[in-house]
Symmetry: C2
């Protein structure tokens, strides 16, 4: 019943609110992604690829904040599903470019309705609120990451 109890209470933690909300939203995507045969992280990778171009593994990683330890196996699974191809470059043989197959490109048309469907499921009073929340989260991420390097 001391002061620390309030500070350590689960529901008071911003981190838990984030963790729980993130998982809840990802679960809300499941019924929409299952018909497409993809997982939520795969959907994020496809969002990057649908924007065009043939990014390298590392470029996708920069967008999603994921490293090759996560991306390489995931991209290989997507390759096996026929959604994309992984081409090791000849100019710089360290690099691997990712490009969508026709099947991967076709999925985009099936996905266009997803953001709107989810926006409805968010059930917010106003879109503006959701946009504000989104921007606050991007800000928070930036501040937390900025504070990360102990050498700064």
């Amino acid at each position: 019943m001391n002061a620390a109890d309030g500070a350590l209470r689960l529901e008071n933690q911003l981190c838990f609110a984030l963790y729980a909300a993130s998982r809840a939203v990802i679960q809300a995507y499941q019924p929409l992604l299952k018909p497409l045969g993809i997982t939520y992280p795969q959907y994020l990778a496809l969002l990057v690829l649908w924007e065009g171009g043939s990014p390298r593994v590392g470029e996708i990683g920069e967008r999603l904040d994921l490293d090759s330890a996560t991306l390489t196996p995931m991209l290989k699974r997507m390759e096996k599903q026929g959604l994309l191809a992984r081409d090791r470059q000849t100019v710089d043989q360290r690099q691997v470019r990712i490009r969508l197959t026709p099947a991967g490109k076709r999925l985009k048309s099936k996905a266009v309705g997803i953001p709107h469907t989810l926006a409805c499921r968010y059930g917010a009073e106003s879109i503006r609120q959701l946009l504000g929340l989104r921007d606050s989260l991007h800000d928070l991420r930036g501040r937390v990451r900025a504070g990360a390097p102990a050498t700064a």
Copy 2:
């Protein structure tokens, strides 16, 4: 370049803002949790246990939104580390109660400073903003979960 492109742009997605911010914040916890020898989900379970009592696996799961498939292995790891004990009840042999060992209780004193340290790392202009963000996230989680049952 049609309207759908904006809707499918990665940075426009609230879900991605959540996903990325959640992972960034969890990573910010790592340097603080490593000295305690625990992971972030284990820290969340300890927050529940430090509140007192000997909750069942399912009760911890209700608080954290996690099921036994995730909790049972995690709690077993924590048991092996000597942080807690898993007692199958004799009254109802299906139930397993979790109670902290002295070592598990001692960890609390090492953790009391963590929320404050993180609050600083969030680098927000005001605490009020962070509290507002936290509450918005809890609201969002409630709305998304409420919309989940397709039979409702």
